[in-house]
Amino acid sequence: MKKKNMTRWAMIIPATVVLAFVLLYPIGNTIWLSFRREHLLRPTMNAFVGFQNYSYILQSSDFLQSLKVTAYFTGVSVFIEFVIGLFTAILLNQDFKMKAFLRVLVVLPWAIPTVANGVMWQWIFDTNYGALNGLLSQLGLISEYVNWLGTPFGALNSVIIADIWKNCWFFTIVLLGALQAIPKNYYEAAYVDGAGFWKKLFKVTLPLLKPAIAISLVLRISEAFKAFDIIYIMTKGGPANGTQVLSYYVYHTAFESLRMGRGAAISTVVTALILIIAIIFTNVLMREEVDLSA
């Protein structure tokens, strides 16, 4: 018995050591850094400062602005992505001729690297040479070219559109997988009881998709909450910091201003926020048993 135990431990140890190095140490070090003033360019000023970094952040208008931008970006993009993803998943779950081809097609945008996607949309939105202005003016919808990325709010919405185009298919793929696991006879029974499309959606499909929805939402929300690459490529946080999401704020503080302590404090706050959101979502959506009697 004892020998068996030893073997178990021996087998776990290598993975634990690796994880300790690549996960526990960086996380612990980040939290430790967040209590220090650690300025790469002013090493003489480095010191332990307790909660000073945190109190600075919470009072800073930049942080509040970034939090708002991030919340808007996450809320709007994930919600629209979810709705598009759900309905395309339902559509692709039907029997029709092009089904297999379309299923492959939806994976394509999702498989494009974010950087390539960002550059592509940057050109689509370009004021003078962009495809969007070209299309809209040829259709006669606009008389003058619009500078889509030129206002803080316009740029934010443009980045959201680029993000939706790429990421809504994630929901399609996950939800389509879950839809295929729902037995057909549930729908037949609902049909016999006289349920229409919407009733079937709300009474059968959605309740049975709950676990898949919860997992995909948590994954996408936490991903959108820390979005960085698409912002870096398309707007660099501008104009006038209108698209400076929290991750970009961390990047700017830690790697452009080289204030490591403050940067670590912001990323700790961001991590805590994502953790809270994830806990709420998994609890609300996954706790209840699925009940089809209602």
Binding site: L40, L41, R42, D126, T127, N128, Y129, N147, L149, G150, T151, P152, A155, T235, K236, G237, G238, P239, A240, N241, G242, H252, F255, E256, S257, L258
Partner: protein, 419 residues
């Protein structure tokens, strides 16, 4: 016999190792802009010094500062030679990243290199590197469009700049009068420096406190905002373009006016990148105030040797090779870069191939430098954001500059740069 064989093999190995190691490798980091030229001449340098090997890395200008600082702080020996923009010198010297080179300067260098360009790598009376080109923002105008609009001369004041733009736009020759690089990046501060000097303002007063939020500094920003919304002569996409992106507008003939660095000339006259070959001329940047002839912003860069480098002699050979008269001449001819060697400005071969150097040279007498501060990078970032707030009409110009001034004072106080 066997023993002898082994001995022979071992000595052969040692010999190989020695010859391998005797070749010194210097690591150089450069901005993308002139990396092509530098890469091109490395074989020539290596032929001259067969025992030195050059390893050149290049990144875009906007990533350069961060790449250099983080690499050198993590590993002080990461590079032997780094590309330094004039605004970084005070900070890099204070951080102890650069090797002082006063003792290495030869009498010819002291005589040949233009003194005002040499200052970009000087701090506290000491020299820390050699300039590689002498660059400012030049005023490029489309002569053909001006003629078609019935205008004989380029504008000399910003009022004329606006009215000429309107004339050209009214005749349907161009969509806008000009496009600028006012995106949230260092280029924005260069353009603001050009205008602040033209409107007679300055960044800081004698005591080191911000002075840009009144007088010429405020007028410059007001003009920027008005030129977009009030006069409608500046392409609004200027808010999201940088000094690389605006080249398209001028090269395509979409706008008659643009301000950019010397390398723009080569692009405007390259048939593969431009439809306006031969039409673009260089004029003096306009002025915004009586008594000021013209003003532009400097943007020269140079190579410096890192303090912890183990190959300082080899590194010096490389940078003095690039600053030599021959290389400066080749760089001017092939890439249109303004040379740092004074005598080259009267070189007949260069002048024949680059007729624009004449008017460019006259611009060099009207230059304002960006502020020289140890914490320049953070100060610049604050200014960029607030100027953008005004440009996107999120704030009034006065309100934005006041807010920027307040944040900059807090920052400079934190670092003890002012009391």
């Amino acid at each position: 016999m066997k023993k002898l064989n082994v001995l022979f093999l071992v000595s052969l190995l040692v010999l190989f190792a020695l010859t391998g190691f005797s070749k010194e490798t210097i690591k150089v980091i450069s901005s993308d802009d002139f990396a092509a030229f530098r890469r091109e001449v490395i074989p020539e340098f290596e032929k001259l010094y067969p025992d030195i090997e050059v390893e050149l890395t290049s990144v875009g200008y906007n990533q350069l500062y961060q790449k250099e600082v983080t690499s050198l702080i993590a590993n002080p020996k990461a590079y032997d030679v780094i590309d330094v923009d004039c605004i970084w010198t005070p900070e890099f010297v204070t951080l102890g990243l650069l090797e002082q080179i006063d003792d290495r300067l030869t009498p010819e260098m002291k005589e040949e290199i233009i003194p005002s360009v040499m200052t970009i790598l000087q701090y506290g009376g000491k020299t820390y590197g050699l300039p590689m080109f002498d660059d400012v923002l030049f005023f490029y105008y489309n002569e053909k469009m001006l003629e078609e609009a019935g205008l004989s001369e380029p504008p000399t004041t910003y009022d004329e700049f606006v009215s000429f733009s309107k004339t050209i736009m009214d005749k349907g020759l161009a969509k806008y009068g000009s496009v600028w690089g006012w995106a949230q990046a260092e280029g924005l501060i260069c353009y603001y420096t050009q205008l602040i000097g033209a409107f007679g303002g300055k960044f800081f007063d004698e005591n080191g406190y911000p002075a840009f939020n009144s007088g010429g500094g405020l007028e410059a920003l007001k003009w920027m905002v008005d030129s977009i919304y009030e006069y409608g002569v500046v392409d609004p996409s200027s808010i999201t373009s940088d000094d690389r992106a605006l080249l398209h507008g001028v090269a395509n003939g979409d706008v008659p006016f643009g301000f950019d660095w010397s390398f723009a000339w080569t692009i405007f006259n390259d048939p593969e990148q431009s439809t306006q070959v031969g039409n673009i001329k260089v004029g003096l940047c306009p002025t915004g105030k009586d008594g000021i002839v013209s003003n532009t912003s400097s943007g020269s860069m140079g190579f410096a040797i890192t303090k912890q480098s183990e190959h300082k002699d080899a590194a010096w050979k490389f940078i003095s090779f690039l600053a030599s008269k021959e290389m400066q001449k080749q760089q001017a001819i092939d890439y249109g870069a303004m040379p740092v060697v004074e005598s080259l400005y009267s070189d007949p071969e260069i002048l024949e191939l680059h007729p624009e150097f004449g008017p460019m040279l006259s611009q060099l007498s009207y230059v304002t430098d960006r502020p020289s501060l140890v914490s320049y990078n953070e100060v610049s970032r604050i200014l960029q954001i607030y100027i953008q707030r005004a440009l996107t009409k999120d704030m009034e110009p006065k309100e934005a500059l006041d807010a920027a001034a307040k944040e900059i004072v807090d920052l400079l106080k934190e670092y003890g740069e002012i009391n």
